[in-house]
Amino acid sequence: MTFFPETFFYFLVYGALFWTGLGAAILIFLLLKDHKNKKIW
């Protein structure tokens, strides 16, 4: 049986958490940008 390496497991978990947090930041940034350009709706 060939295992995924432990480093990959680390990368996967930490990467996913960072990426998810980045998503929240992107959405807030875009909302501010749309608000500035009066293009929310």
Partner: protein
């Protein structure tokens, strides 16, 4: 369910439920005031911008099933299980160019049914509506059930009460505000979901050492770390095609494509896929930590919330409670709105009452939102099956529609006969596969059969479709009120 698993008091659960229920209904009414006519109610004025567009697509796709099933996938199929769930985001990526084409071909379209009716004619349209309604109800019921289960797991609120309140709140604010309310609340809910998942994951990482988790899993359940886990690999491709089928056909996504500004829709869908991709891993990995933390998982349906609440205590339970509530609401509201639109536009207006006034359509839309909520409640009340069964049974049905939709959008030679046979044969063989082999192969087989039939029909009986027939704007500009 073990009583010691409950980490929130019932009173706290009810207070949280009340606070968020009032918030969603209040925000729904606030944004819903923008809906001045039926088109505004259905499609939020067709002018939704990038931030709200991306957030609503992402939040709708983060269902309670994502929060509940991603940990289950991790627990049953390990690393591949989490990655398999992440492939559901590919549907959003691929829908991005389709959204652009949808806006171009149907500038005044209302529903996915509109497209199928105009593109393939009535027999395919009826078959499509049957598939779409079965899937939409399965999705609604599975989410209502998930809501009841997670509330019971976290706070001891009786399944029937929790499920009823969540469903009732979603019905209320969708009823008041239509797609304006749905998209507005989706943005707030998407932020809460993303921040909540990161918070839970980060705190879990402070309590466990990932190398210990890895060693524990390698010892106790080595298959979960196996690079070549056959069932998980099948699940990966199956889930990907299931996701394609869900997104490509369902009016939830088409209504968003129609609601977003033309220059924004494709970018917003692409971004929503990007935002969604890591969520199953971020929400799912905590299930693999259960063994290292000494948590006895007795109810696999609620493993994610259980681990989070056991590790983080009452605060963690509150966060999970809120995240799941937001995930549920952001999807249930979308489905209620999009499914009632499908019934109003495709069944009532196109089949039964073509001269219906705008006021009649709006009134019927409201009645159908309530009726769908009631039907969902009745089916979910007995808690008959586990989440996987409810959700994955509809997989082969929707997977059979993938290639008829793609063909309909891009291949002018795709015709009615091929599309009809592709959906019928794909669904039938997929369902047989579901019962004879397993859920993890059903969508894959259904999509393969459907593609084969579509390609064969292109060679045997090619059509010659005029794309201009899809544009109904000159026939019916904005559905003027005949009254």
């Amino acid at each position: 369910m073990d009583v010691e698993n409950i980490t929130l008091s019932r009173e706290t659960g009810w207070i949280l439920l009340a606070i968020f229920s009032i918030a969603w209904v209040g925000l729904g009414i606030f944004w819903g005031r923008k809906a001045k006519d039926h088109e505004g109610f259905m499609l939020a004025g067709r002018n939704v911008g990038m931030a709200l567009g991306a957030a609503t697509a992402m939040a709708t796709w983060v269902t309670s099933n994502t929060i509940m099933l991603a940990p289950q996938f991790a627990l049953k199929m390990g690393i591949w299980g989490m990655l398999a769930y992440s492939t559901a985001s590919f549907g959003l990526f691929l829908f991005a160019p389709m959204a652009f084409r949808i806006r171009k071909l149907l500038p005044k379209g209302f529903t996915s049914g509109d497209f199928i009716r105009l593109r393939y004619g009535k027999p395919v349209w009826v078959l499509f509506l049957v598939v779409s309604m079965i899937y939409s109800m399965a999705w609604l019921v599975s989410m209502a059930m998930a809501g009841g289960i997670v509330l019971q797991t976290l706070s001891g609120i009786d399944y029937k009460f929790g499920m009823s309140v969540i469903l009732g709140v979603c019905v209320l604010y969708t009823l008041f505000g239509g797609l304006y309310a749905v998209i507005g609340t989706d943005f707030v809910q998407s932020l809460i979901i993303l921040i909540g998942i990161v918070t839970v994951g980060a705190v879990v990482l402070t309590k466990v050492d990932l190398s210990v988790v890895y060693a524990d899993v390698a010892t106790t359940q080595p298959a979960l770390l196996d690079v070549l886990m056959p069932v998980a690999l099948l699940a990966l491709f199956n889930n990907m095609f299931f996701g394609f089928g869900e997104i490509f056909h369902n009016n939830v996504w088409w209504s968003r494509a129609f609601a977003m500004r033309g220059d924004v829709s494709h970018k917003a869908f692409f971004l929503s896929g990007f935002l969604w991709f890591p969520i199953p891993v971020a929400a799912g990995f905590i299930a693999l930590c259960a063994g290292s933390l000494g948590i006895n998982v007795t109810d696999i349906d609620g493993v994610g919330p259980l681990v989070a609440s056991q590790v983080l205590g009452p605060v963690g339970a509150v966060v999970v409670f809120v995240v799941v509530f937001c995930s549920l609401a952001s999807s249930i509201d979308s489905l209620l709105a999009a499914t009632s639109d499908l019934l109003v536009q495709d069944v009532y207006r196109k089949m039964l009452h073509p001269e219906a006034s705008e006021a009649q359509l709006r009134r019927l839309g409201s009645i159908l939102i309530v009726a769908l909520g009631l039907l969902t409640w009745l089916i979910a009340l007995p808690r008959m099956a586990d989440l996987n069964v409810v959700l994955f049974l509809s997989g082969p049905l929707v997977a059979s529609v993938i290639f008829p939709v793609i063909g309909g959008l891009y291949w002018e030679k795709a015709g009615q006969g091929g599309a009809f046979c592709a959906i019928l044969l794909g669904s039938s063989v997929g369902l047989v596969t579901y019962y004879t082999i397993g859920w993890y192969a059903a969508s894959l087989v259904s999509a393969a059969i459907s593609l084969t039939v579509m390609l064969a029909a292109l060679r045997i009986a090619p059509g010659d479709f005029d794309w201009k027939l899809l544009d109904e704007s000159s026939v019916n500009p904005n559905h003027p009120d005949p009254s």
